[in-house]
Amino acid sequence: MSSSLEKADDPTKLRRVVIDPVSRVEGHGKVTILLDEAGKVHQVRLHIVEFRGFERFIQGRPYWEVPVMVQRLCGICPVSHHLCASKALDLVVGARRLTETAEKVRRLMHYGQMLQSHALHFFHLASPDLLFGFGSDLAKRNIVGVAAAFPELAKQGIMLRKYGQEVIRITAGKRVHGTGAIPGGVNKQVTAAERDELLAPLPQVLEWARGAVKLVADLHLSHRAEYDRFGTVPSSFLSLVGEGGKLDLYDGTLRARDHAGQILFDGVDPQDYRSQIEENVRSWSYMKFPFIGSLGPDVGWYRVGPLARIQNCDFIDTPLAEEARQQFRAAFAVPENGLVHAPLAYHWARIIELLHSAEVIERLLHDDALLGDELLAKGPRAKSGVGIIEAPRGTLIHHYEVNDQDLVTECNLIVSTTHNNQAMNETIREVARQYLDGKEPTEGLLNHVEVAIRAYDPCLSCATHALGKMPLTLEFVDPSGALVERLVRDGESL
């Protein structure tokens, strides 16, 4: 768990290569790489340079606005923020247990979100790298190139995502930024006609999802030597785990394993997240650095997301995804409790979850309780609530304090990408060691850095790369700080 490339001994004598903005972080992120004259890498950092301020401007607002307001954090996973805030505020309005219908409608919404987001990431954003190669022809390395070379695959990606969006529309009212969940339950009943509308395409969705698992497994296994090593750094893993240790993306308790797979903590109630997770800040990024308190800030960083979840759980309670999980473990031949650390294995784990989501949606649609009309629960008021949900990109934590006048007085959000902050930094340092050391950086080589970031599917994802227009600026600065050369890629050429 080395951090040796976090800070160069004497940065003034080094030249600086900047990837700005990194595509795929929604909003703005950049990577800086410091090289000496021989091209040896001395420092690599992923900086998140934007500041959103949601934690602050939610203060003073009435609590019932919050689930609707916070989803504006993101255009890709708004449902996760919407549901996570609702879960936290369920506790404030005293709904410690939702009605059966409300819980099932929310789960349906959440797994629809999981399915669409994972499909978007794999097919639109990641597949160009995986299908064509990390340093392949830039003109083709995008979704348009995929559509030309693999039209059926591109269509499946689009249709899978569309299906997830339809699930969201029916449960939340709109495909993006709906209002289905409210503190204490949901505001919208699912009708039998809506259920049937979602059931009809499901066999096809399941078949495509199974095909995607096979594709991602084949891709990994056919590039085994490179994929297993690419940016690989060992780390701890954190996720929610459901009842009996099953994979549960909507609710559960916190479990963490160390890099060897040993349990660090388990069964931690979301309300007590602060007993295990601490956060600190660094001067060069607006993103906080969370860590497991018992391990300390230096080595306590961990990873969240599909790779964490698939390995943290003891089993998956849907048959096709469980079979895929077993195949994943068998392929890596990991011993009991052992862990796969390769960042590129995130893709495989993500698609297993996509299949799982389709299976859960099927199960929920066959459950009559989904169509019930008891939508709201309430109980004695509480002053605070913590909601934790497994968003597509990992563990999402929303914590609110609400006063007697119904106004939010404090808000703490730890989003998935924040958990993976140090992990992404460590991964790109490793990629820099493996691919950049001693070489003249080219677009193809620098894309390796982005491929590594992309594996984590950071929530600031933007579509620029997918459309082949990833803006990229390279600045070569001599030791005195003067600009020697500046290369700008506008999506057409470098």
């Binding site: 009435p62 019932w64 309005v93 709109k174 289905g180 119904d406």
Partner: protein, 256 residues
């Protein structure tokens, strides 16, 4: 029989009949012709403050809510010139307050939002003032979000004329004019406002809200989600929910 024929004026080339004593706006709405308005409410005396119902009569611009209809008037309402003027007035209202529709509970049943859609307002156009207007959450059942106030004075009129309580008033002048509550402490909790009051249900925007029931009516099933304001205002649309389903806890009074 000739004496029984109603007097008429012409609006945008169409005959509009009226009863003596009716204003242009009242007669137009009764005849099914929409004229955009915000501070007008059929149950209250016309006020003439928002000026959104401005029309041109025989070449003069006047507020149609306070101008009596006269036989033979030539009224211009939906002309490009008048619509541009109305669009600007709505844009002024948006930039003078803090109107964030995406997270506003009143979205979908807000008259300001509905009128803006009707007029085709695509952007604020002017620089927002971003005024600092702290909300008043002191009342156990009512929240006041002054950020959205458009100074229509309907709550003031309802509280004074119907409820007999004088809970609300305006204070300050010009751009600093703002809504206040009549209590020495300045807090709503120290007034006699009750949730049953008429003043609770006349706000055209999202200032006066019942607490703890936000977003219980889904977006998409609200008043102006169902029917455009130009149909609602002339009584052509009455159904609240297209689905026919009641909202989770009975019908909402929001935006009623």
């Amino acid at each position: 029989m000739a004496g029984a024929e109603k007097p008429m004026f012409a609006m945008d080339g169409n005959d509009v009949p009226f009863e003596p004593g009716q204003t242009i706006l009242q007669a137009a709405l009764a005849a099914g012709r929409y004229v955009p308005h915000l501070c007008f409410h059929p149950e209250f005396k016309p006020h003439g403050s928002c000026k959104l119902c401005t029309v041109k009569i025989n070449g003069r611009t006047v507020a149609s809510c306070t101008t009596l209809a006269k036989q033979g008037d030539e009224v211009e309402s939906e002309t490009p010139e008048i619509q541009d003027l109305r669009r600007n007035l709505v844009q002024f209202l948006f930039v003078e307050g803090n109107h964030f529709c995406p997270s506003c509970e009143k979205s979908g049943s807000c008259m300001l939002q509905a009128v803006a859609y009707d007029l085709g307002v695509m952007a604020e156009h002017f620089s927002p003032f971003f005024p600092s207007r702290p909300i008043d959450a002191s009342h156990p059942d009512v929240l006041l979000d002054f950020n959205r106030c458009i100074l229509c004075e309907l709550c003031i009129r309802a509280s004074a004329e119907v409820d007999g309580k004088n809970v609300f008033a305006l204070s300050g002048r010009g751009a600093k004019k703002h809504l206040i509550v009549n209590a020495e402490s300045g807090r709503l909790a120290d007034t006699r406002l009750a949730v049953e009051d008429k003043a609770m249900d006349v706000c055209p925007v999202g200032v006066i809200l019942r607490k703890r029931r936000g977003f219980q009516v889904p977006i998409g099933e609200r008043k102006y989600d169902q029917h455009p304001i130009r149909e609602v205002a002339v009584g052509k649309a009455t159904a609240r929910h297209a689905s026919g389903k009641p909202s989770p806890q009975g019908p909402s009074k929001e935006g009623a």
